[in-house]
């Protein structure tokens, strides 16, 4: 029998459950945002903007860069006060395991894994919604950043018609900075 861990016990109720409400993308997939991305990342794949070339490919027309999947659903930010909120885009709060870990002292956050899956490429006009589900929360681990818990959730992206077009698994380590063993921290090369 593992040693009782009240923090882990307090977050158990979230595993396998929805995290926050379903939310809708502010705008449908659209060419201006694709153009902004293409220029920002200097990604010259013609299927993203060149209708003539895209029409000759398997896609039959322009499609959005697949890695923009998450971008379409990013919440509209409230810029004023964003630093004071630690970077949270808005004031929206909902019951979730990350806040519980924050309150228990595991205030550090380190993203460790991102796994994007694309069911199909998006076209201008597709309007997305997303929903999050907590996939797993690890037992307390000792890591290079001290004691912490790995929290994994899966975001499912659907069109407003309900078609699943992609998924993203995301894993973060929530750690307690006061437990970092400084003698074991590696100096940057």
């Amino acid at each position: 029998m593992a040693e009782a861990d009240p923090v882990r016990a307090a977050v158990e109720k979230y595993v396998g459950k929805a995290m926050g409400p379903q939310s809708a993308a502010p705008d449908p997939v659209n060419v201006p945002m694709i153009r902004h991305w293409v220029d920002a990342l200097d990604d010259r794949n013609p299927v993203y903007l060149d209708e003539a070339i895209a029409a000759t490919t398997r896609f039959g027309g322009v499609v959005a860069p697949p890695a923009m999947l998450q971008t379409w659903c990013m919440p509209r930010p409230k810029i004023e006060g964003i630093a004071e909120r630690g970077g949270a885009p808005n004031d929206m709060r909902f019951d979730n395991p990350i806040s519980v870990l924050d309150e228990a002292g595991y205030v550090g956050t380190l993203a460790t894994n991102s796994e994007l899956e694309f069911v199909r490429y998006l076209r201008p006009g597709d309007h997305l919604t997303l929903s999050n589900e907590v996939e797993s929360i690890s037992n307390r681990k000792t890591t290079g950043l001290g004691q912490g818990y790995f929290v994994t959730w899966v975001t499912t992206y659907r069109t407003t018609a309900g078609e699943v077009v992609g998924r993203q698994l995301f894993r973060i380590l929530k750690f307690d900075p006061s437990t970092i063993d400084l003698s074991k921290l590696k100096a940057p090369r």
């Binding site: 220029d39 990342l41 200097d42 794949n45 070339i53 860069p65 971008t71 460790t112 991102s114 694309f118």
Partner: protein
């Protein structure tokens, strides 16, 4: 990039993708953050980033995924359709430390009239591995 796609019949497991070096600047990081609609101050405000213990502003994950996708499709061509990007995140991508991308074909199969490829992809800088992982994609067969 070229508008010609890779010919699946000429791809072999073990093939290396041409290396690519991204000159990471504050502009690259901020442009990617805003194009991906990520307004987290750590990705555009060096004062905020340093107060959090980071050496400088650092690239957001959406941009990292975008560059991984670009690296793969710059090689595979416009007919490539990515089906997954699975990465482990490590050292931050910060201004002044170029990111070096490398990739290798690790599996090749056929499904539904398409060639299915699995690639091992890595982006490293002087701090270590920024992103390492697997990209899967399909290319139409002839």
């Amino acid at each position: 990039m070229t508008t010609r796609s890779q010919n699946p019949s000429q791809i072999t497991v073990g093939d290396e993708l041409p290396p690519f070096e991204l000159n990471v600047t504050s502009t690259v990081i901020v442009a990617g953050a805003i194009a991906s609609r990520d307004f987290m101050p750590a990705h555009h405000d060096p004062v905020f980033a340093k107060a959090q213990g980071a050496p400088d502003v650092f690239m957001n994950i959406l941009t990292t995924n975008g560059y991984v996708a670009r690296y793969v499709t710059d090689w595979a061509g416009p007919e490539a359709m990515l089906t997954s990007i699975k990465i482990r995140l490590g050292a931050p991508a910060v201004p002044g430390k170029p990111l070096r991308f490398s990739g290798r074909v690790t599996a090749k199969s056929a499904a539904g009239g398409a060639c299915v490829l699995e690639l091992a992809v890595r982006a490293v800088n002087d701090l270590g591995d920024h992103a390492t992982g697997t990209v899967t994609l399909s290319l139409p067969l002839g």
